[in-house]
Amino acid sequence: MIAVNKGANTLVLLVLLLAGLSYGCIGSTNGTQTATEKPKVLTISTTTSLYDTGILENVIAPIFKEKYNIELRFIPKGTGGAILDAKSGASDAILVHALPKEQAFMEEGYGVNRKVFAYNFFVIVGPKDDPAGIRGLSVSEALKKIVEYGRAHPDKIVWVSRDDGSGTNTKEIALWKNAGFDFNELKNESWFGTTGSGMGNTLLYTSERKAYTISDIGTYLKYQKEGKINLDVLVDKGEELINVYAIIIINPKKIPGKDFEGAMLLAQWLTSDEGQKAIAEYGKDEFGRPLFYPAVPVLKNQQGDVFKWIIKYGFMKDGDKYTECPEKFRYQPKYDFFEFPASVVEG
């Protein structure tokens, strides 16, 4: 009987302990919440290539929180996953880099007020000794060589694809198509590996297998510099390698209850002088070059090849103009959008 009572007491004690532990923790967060006013929160679905470099968590979120007392919740998924989250009402805005998918998303009525805020370049990376001999070639030539080499070596993984519906994967599919190949057919060949996961993971795997892949330069530089991978940039020339990042706000008419004003604040900050400077500075000290370039100064200057490439690969055609956000996708007239006559690109 005594033993039984002791048992019951122990159970009570244990539950109390757990309760106390949990309550203590809740209590302490409540404490900080009441000390400073509880910040608003914005949920931003983002591409993994932006997220993996750390710029969102380490630079943008802290500055934005200090400035506006709005906390940014970044959910890293491929562009496809980010769009699914947005359609199910989970996000207030999405950060993406896949023009065709962005266009479809907006056509379906989910996105408004698209702003282009940064760009960098995709690169084809591979082992230093470059067994397929692609160094310095054009993108299409290089891809043809890789297919050739891959088919001659069916017993090893020669090319690694993310195959995750991300912006990088979307670009990869377009590049294969340009070179005369069908991505879905290549996928079935034995030398063609797929990871179905983010950029960082894919780079690690590619390095491990001494294979080739396409990467955004930001993630590549970060991983290479930190000694996690051993891959060389082999192909980095070609306008089609430009990688344009945009923010799209969720259409408040289509999905109610999202913080349109807050998300617009983020879009405006990202394209403001301060935001653009933060983007330009990130990684400079550590990698000797920035991981992303600010797009707004290029769009303001309207000069040079990069300006044309951003328009050609990162803007949407709207009648006889190229614009970052066609008029029918604009919500509230008070915001400015870049647009240029089609002649800028088409000559």
């Binding site: 122990t10 949990s22 923790c25 929160v41 979120a61 970044f74 996961s197 991983y223």
Partner: protein, 235 residues
């Protein structure tokens, strides 16, 4: 390479263990899974006692169902709960996606069958003899049942400990419902030990992954030790 990599990771990890960032994540893990355990215990215990002590038609079916639920992989829970919790989904209005409470609810559902299964088993294994003994000694039905529950306390403690350990070491729900969100000083962070370990391994930041892994193992082992002590004391 080979072992150097791991040894170096370990030696760096040891320095990271009292890093406030690492501690914050560890505390969040304990909190999220602690709440999950409390919730699961709150609804599992009464049902388990009924199941363990009462006979009714189709009881075996209910028990089979509970045992079957124990085998549901955590990513399936993650997927189902994601579809339920997205704001436009059936339970979207609860606002649980990408929150600590969302992870807790998910983990609570995951460990419910574990608690119920262990508790029901321990009640049933004791029921026969104790109840009959109590009844022959002149106790009524209710008092006899109460006696059975008291005698099964060891099993109940075991169930709670096992459930907490299962919750805190779970990845699928924490990642898919929590989203591994972290902003310095953030109020809405959801990064817990398992999601952080997964992320740092993918990012090849191995020392911090090892540091977090040591902490996670520490918590699991400490809770197990506690459970053994408690059960020893009960005997």
């Amino acid at each position: 390479m080979a072992w150097d990599y791991i040894i170096q990771g370990f030696s760096e990890a040891v320095k990271l263990i009292d890093d406030p960032y690492v501690i914050e994540i560890a505390i969040r893990s304990i909190k999220v899974s602690g709440i999950a355990t409390l919730m699961a215990v709150a609804w599992s215990l009464p049902i388990s006692v009924l199941l363990g002590l009462k006979d009714f038609p189709g009881k075996w079916l209910v028990k089979t169902l509970i045992n079957g639920l124990m085998g549901v992989p955590t990513v399936i829970w993650g997927l189902v709960l994601y579809l339920m919790f997205v704001p436009l989904g059936p339970l979207g209005s609860l606002g649980l996606l990408y929150t600590e409470m969302g992870i807790s609810v998910g983990q609570a559902l995951l460990i419910t069958p574990i608690i119920m299964s262990i508790v029901v088993n321990s009640l049933e294994s004791i029921e026969g003899e104790i109840r009959e003994l109590a009844l022959t000694l002149g106790a009524d039905e209710i008092r006899a049942s109460f006696q059975v529950v008291r005698e099964s306390i060891g099993g109940i403690v075991l169930a709670i400990i096992a459930a907490f350990n299962r919750a805190i070491s779970e990845l699928g729900i924490a990642l898919m419902i929590g989203g591994n969100i972290y902003v310095r000083g953030g109020v809405y962070n959801t990064r817990v030990l398992t999601t952080a370990i997964q992320m740092y391994t993918v990012r090849a930041e191995i020392s911090i992954a090892i540091a977090l892994g040591i902490i996670l193992m520490g918590i699991v082992l400490a809770v197990n030790l506690l459970s053994n002590l408690v059960r020893k004391w009960l005997e």
